[in-house]
Amino acid sequence: MLISYDWLQEYVDVDIEVPELAELLTLSGSEVDSIGSVGGRLDERIIVGQIVELCLHPDGKLLIAKVDTGQKPLALVTGAPNVAVGQKLPVALIGSVLPNGQVIEAVSFQGVTSYGMLCSEQELELGDDASGIMILPLDTPVGMPLTDALGLDDPIIDLEIYPNRPDCLSVLGIAREVAAITGKSLRLPTIKVMEAGSPIEDLTSVTVEDMKLCPFYSARVIRNIQVGPSPLWLQKRVVAGGMRPINNVVDITNFVLLEMGQPLHAFDYERLAEKRIVVRRAQPGEAITTLDGETRVLDQETLVIADAQKPVCIAGIMGGVNTEVNSETTSILLEAAIFQGLSIRRTSRRLGLRSEASARFEKGLDPSQVTKALDRATQLLVEIAGGEVSRGTIVVTTKLPEQRVVIFNPDRCNRLLGASIPQEEMIRILESLQFEVKLDKANQQLEVKVPSHRLDIELEADLIEEVARLYGYDRIPATLPKGVAQGGENRRLEVAAQVRNLLVGAGLTEIMTYSFDSPDSYRKLNLPEEHELGQAVTIQNPLTTDWSILRTSLVPHLLDVLRHNAQRQQHDLQLFEIGSVFVPEELPLTKQPDERLTLGIALMGDYPRDWGFPPREVDFFELKGLVEAVFDDLGLSCQWEKTNHPTLHPGRSAVVKVGNTKVGILGEVHPEVGEIWELPARAYLAELSLEAILAQISHEKRVDKLPRYPAVARDLALLAPDTILAQEVLEVIWAAGGDLVKEITLFDVYQGRQIPSGHRSLAYSILYQARDRTLTDSEVEAVEGKIITELETRLGITRR
């Protein structure tokens, strides 16, 4: 909402500077976005001139204008098509500087000297119009600097009005606030209408067919008006409010809209079929050409103002060209109404058409102001455009709601705020905002009558806010809540944090990606059409098709991030994300999808190189080790099974299980997938459901007693056929070793020289220990012998 400081002064005496006023407004709930002006200060030597004579330049194209500037007339040469004798326009005198820095000099146009320049809106940076010279209102004083004549440097305060305060969408509304916060009195304009001629009932009638969509309609008829440009003061106000002057009739309706917040519409009375108004829903297929030149097809949801035959206006949104006021108009029917906000909002959305008027109807209007605004405009029409007002006003309305009374308890107010504002202060504040306050001494409370413009006040809490915001939030003391409370982290987030800390400590960097994804991403994972990961939740109104579904896996974005970085010379990547994936129970969605907290890990390239170590490439076992560390840290042991997943290398992928529950998958990226995602090297992915893991974590932790007897470590080098899995070897050793085997560590895997083909060498270090005695060599040898025998008979493995 744009508020002219100058205009504001008409209704309330503001004796403080603009920045201070802005601060007061902001701190009382009308947030000031910025302070500006219509045009700022122009050079003092750009002044108002009037053309007294026009003649053609000898070249036959240009014009020579003799211009009165308050002193001796100047000869100015112009090529503009829109000049005429008698017009007033901006003249940049010699030596003046235009906003773009151009200095005006005397210039000769083929022998004729121009002693200055006539300016367009664009040249003065007052608008976009460059088609001709800017024409000023006829009552603009000649010779005055343009800045002063047009009030170009009048401060304009741009306010953000919250949706609950439509009563502030007018200069008077803001004046009301200013009066309340500064303690000054409010000066309302005096409205007086002189009626004459025939009663309005003889001239027109109004039928409202849908009182729900139009609870209030009022109209006046004004005849014998003279449509023309508005006087300077009116144009200044309209411009200050951010609108363009059109003609006096339209300018007056816009002025009243800005002044009082009530939209008005003027119809060309003579062009109304049967000279009457019907407020009704549009018939299917009915069309109207609106003032912006668009022809719009309407439906039954649209409320229109019609005459006896056709729609003449889309109610509350925009008028039709068929009854537009133009220079030929002599009589008008002036409308002031209230339309249902919801209906206006829907229509305006459907048509993609918003206006100053529709914005106000949507948010709600004060019913007590409608005919006042109608009279205010009528009064101005008579003053400015002449005209004769028919006697009476047509008003069609349902019963207006009674003024609301809200019970207000000062104690409760202080209790909620944690303040001790005296009751008299509260009453003073409420009364300054035009609430009528009655003290109910018996019950220690106030009966507060809500003024009709405050549609937002329904409960005591609403009044408490009024008291608080005018008392000043800064005056309410800051305290700390009473009572003891135990804060704490949520378990799910705690476990996520634990995993995150471990991975960051292991050298991985955390990433965060969007929950949105593209259906195409899942095809790019090599997944068959019917794969479960492709069954994703679809967004009805996505920003782009690339972001039209909710991710069912972290993998696509992990690959995106690998590619994004690889394209920027970052090839060695170890990263992870912890975030939700969205798994629908059924599609289309009938209930919320499962949101599963998921861990994704991606590795590619080398580990950071360092001068003491050989370079190390990431591989499957690096990834597996990380995952094992995660489980170990959470106190879980996991099992591994080979798997087949289309996104992963068939020989280098596995599922992870805890107990019998599958909790994740990991492996090397399938070369085809790697190519699709333009990865420069082998990459490794793991995706684990933290949700599934959480369910397995036990809170209990118990320590084992420390052993009292020494352990014996013995190495065992084995020659095993390729086909035997490490897991099988391990199982046999554990089984054969019995209680005395405490720890088995694989420290070398070797294939190559000295190893027969089809075999590999596995070297283990085995720790033997008994709880109750020191083991003797022969005891250890006996166990070891048993292990070797079992390995040989069951797996065909020999000792090297």
């Binding site: 701190l27 009382s28 709930g29 947030e31 919250y162 949706p163 919801l342 909002r345 209790r415 909620l416 944690g418 303040a419 409960l459 809490a461 609403d462 408490i464 806010e465 915001r469 939030y473 003391p477 800051a478 700390l480 809540p481 009473k482 009572g483 409370a485 804060g487 982290e489 949520n490 799910r492 987030l493 944090a497 995150r500 292991a506 050298g507 991985l508 960097t509 955390e510 990433i511 990606t513 949105f516 939740v537 679809t538 967004i539 009805q540 109104n541 920003l543 972001w547 909710l550 920027r568 970052q570 170890q574 990263l575 969205f582 289309p588 969605l589 919320q592 999808p593 950071p608 001068w611």
Partner: protein
Amino acid sequence: MRERLRQMRDEAWKRISEADDTGELDKLRVRYLGKKGELTALLRSMGSLPPEERPDVGKLVNELRGQLDDFLKERLHNLEARELEKRLEQEAIDITLPGRRPAFGRKHPLTQVLEEIETIFVGMGFEVVEGPEVELDYYNFEALNLPPDHPTRDMQDTFFISDDILLRSQTSPVQIRVMEKQEPPVRIIAPGKVYRVDVVDATHSPMFHQVEGLLVDEHTTFGDLKGVLGAFIEAIFGEGRRTRFRPSFFPFTEPSAEIDVECIMCNGKGCRSCSNAGWLEILGAGMVDPRVLQRVGYDPQKYQGFAFGMGVERIAMLKYGIDDIRLLFENDMRFLKQF
């Protein structure tokens, strides 16, 4: 005999003095003091002396033994010290070679800020809770005083999944879910992702993070809200920064407030970050609207409370001087490694 002793002593003294490594010294020790050493031999040969001389000579021999032993020890100590010194000198390294670091990564900056916020509120007795990102219209809007077609729904354009399922546009629905399940006192914060139909640019992202807070009890006041948020701002932005509470509007709080902090870029002088206002809007808050309390079954005559919400990205951007929100979701390692 005495002469031989003197000779032996002079000779031994000389040799021991000249020995220049510990091995040689050890050999000398064996040669003179060993079981088969010269001094021992001398002692044995004392039998050839007249008995009256024996005690004196024996005393002399033992004296010499003591002297040689002390001297050997002293020399050994010196030589060892010298050798150690030499070894240490040889072992010197170029300490300007870079250290070999254990690998460590970085937490995402948003995680770091979220953790910081959580820690501050947990310290003030708040419990951290979560709610679903895919929400029901009821929780995201209706229960928060935003009935269908309410004009204020326009304030936040929402992604819809179906007519009544949507991507939450705020973390406020978590308030409702918690209050439905729990009787007062309630003291929670709810961090999480929220979604709005905003085209991506330097200051907008269709997905971002909020932290919601709620405290409901019998005597919770607007003053408490000021106290708690003041303490939070001090903890996260440092002491001594001016803050202001100004009236605002949220459908589910009454009175409502927005909290500004003196711009941390320009210290309130006015700059691009604060649009020359000198203030940065950090939090929205207010006293929970009695209609909201009523809807979850709390008696608004008995209970009152406050709620607040903040944008995590905004705080992170201010804290770290990040000028483009897209950096937070692009995951460029050159960016992430800086945290």
